[in-house]
């Protein structure tokens, strides 16, 4: 059984339809990349899953429908959404950001060992623990956003443009961490990324969105080798 399944999902912002029937699957433990040009509906697809926009169609997570499930309950079911722009709680400290990440958890002892686990992946956050999150650099805020989402122990992580506005070296280290989190913790990742070549390097499979529908899909290596995708999205 797929971890997440979207079947003919639509979404709109008032009169503007953003998705016209997107169908995709994420298997447990997989990294799936969602590629496409600006306005193709990548961010909206993630928002439809997390319940933060008007949506239709069928979305199933761990075999249960998400129809009518509010955003905060979706999070409680095990979907961590790192939104576009990172959603940093800028006036709170790094530590309080992480505590909010663990808000839904009741297993106190496990939570405190998870802080150590997270600080292992992101040692810089430990150094910056008591700083206001707004004083962090862009890369550090992105790390914090991912760390905060992980504190909830999600089975699925939705990552929206983790590379946006960051220096290439920082992007590289964030992507390495995503790969190792996926491998070590078994968290499945649905990754929206403008930087298609980077995304295809770490993803197992990929979907290509065009104007609100899936235009192509397949194994990441096949997608990377595809002539038309290469020309349109990889730029070589």
């Amino acid at each position: 059984m797929a971890l997440l399944e979207l079947d003919a999902v639509t979404a709109d912002y008032g009169p503007i339809k953003a998705l016209h029937g997107v169908s995709l699957k994420v298997e447990p433990g997989e990294i799936v990349a969602l590629l496409g040009a600006n306005g193709a509906g990548k961010t909206t697809t993630l928002r439809a899953i997390s319940g933060t926009c008007n949506r239709g169609g069928r979305i199933t997570f761990e075999g249960r429908s998400l129809r009518g499930v509010a955003a905060h309950d979706t999070a409680r079911r095990g979907i961590g959404h790192v939104p576009e722009g990172r959603g940093t709680l800028v006036q709170l400290t790094v530590w309080d950001n992480l505590r909010m990440g663990a808000y839904t958890r009741t297993d106190k002892e496990k939570v405190s060992t998870d802080y150590d686990l997270i600080f292992g992946y992101f040692p810089i956050l430990k150094e910056r623990r008591d700083q206001h999150a707004g004083t962090l650099s862009g890369g550090e805020q992105q790390m914090l956003a991912i760390a905060r989402a992980l504190m909830a122990r999600p089975r699925l992580l939705l990552l929206d443009e983790p590379s946006l506005g960051l220096a290439p070296l920082v992007v590289q280290s964030i992507f390495e961490i995503i790969t190792s989190i996926n491998a070590d913790e078994g968290v499945a990742v649905l990754l929206v990324e403008q930087n298609a070549s980077l995304a295809l390097k770490i993803a197992h499979r990929a979907y290509l969105l065009e104007t609100g529908t899936v235009a192509a899909s397949g194994d990441a290596r096949t997608m990377a080798a595809d002539e038309s995708i290469r020309r349109s999205y990889l730029g070589y």
Binding site: T52, H72, A75, R76, G80, T88, L89, Y103, A152
Partner: protein
Amino acid sequence: MTFFLQQLVSGLAAGGAYASLALALVLIYSAMGLVNFAQGEFAMFATFIAWTLMVNLGVPYPLAFVLALGFAMLGAAAIERLIVRPFERGPQLGVVIVTLALLSITNGMAGFIWGYVPRAFPTPFPQNPVVIAGVYISIQDLGVIGVSLLVLGLIYILFNRTKLGLAMRTAALYPDSARLLGVSVGGMLAVGWGLASGVGAVSGILLAPSLFLEPNMMQQVIIYAFAAAVLGGIESPIGAVVGGLLLGVLLAMVGAYVQPLADLRLAVALLLIVVVLVVRPSGLLGQVHVRRV
């Protein structure tokens, strides 16, 4: 000097009660960006509940106090969920009008149930003063200061030391992120209304012995609370407390030393609001918002 100190203590006592109601206003302002004009009436209604419990049903003071607070909190949370919530998606002015409607409905209901005759309200504190270094200080005043500071301290601990408080702050400041982290933002709003109403009820119960209990009891006090909240910074809980205490002392001093203005205390409070808004709109402890454009 002794006269001055006596005025100072009674000013702080009144100020403590203003601070509680101001804090109630600040709690809702921080969560919703608007003031609940019915806050004073909620406090008055809860005070009547406490009065009924004590005088009609013979419930002892501490229990009546706690029950009235519980009533105020549950009642306000229910009002937020059932009456205010449907308007929250619309323009903010709509919600403001709803709070004005709640003001007149609550006031009218209290009049309908209990009438408009002012009633004496019991106090748990002894009436005779203590003498400290030659200064007569009313135990009632000291008790009011103590209870106010206790309540304000509890609220501070709730917001800064507990997970619920952290979630409430997150829901107020970053509703979108809060939802993604599993926080029910609507639920937090109801909790916020409940807390605000509880803190407001403390103010009503503490003031009732000196003001006498009647449906219009809080109508001046709410103006003082606005003045205190604006003085301290409408988004700053600590500011509300500082503002309330300062205002209480200021009004006591005006009443004592500037006799011609003694009957114009309300005007002094309103003047203070205007002056603060002109000179320092963010208040004494409020943060100036800098926005990139």
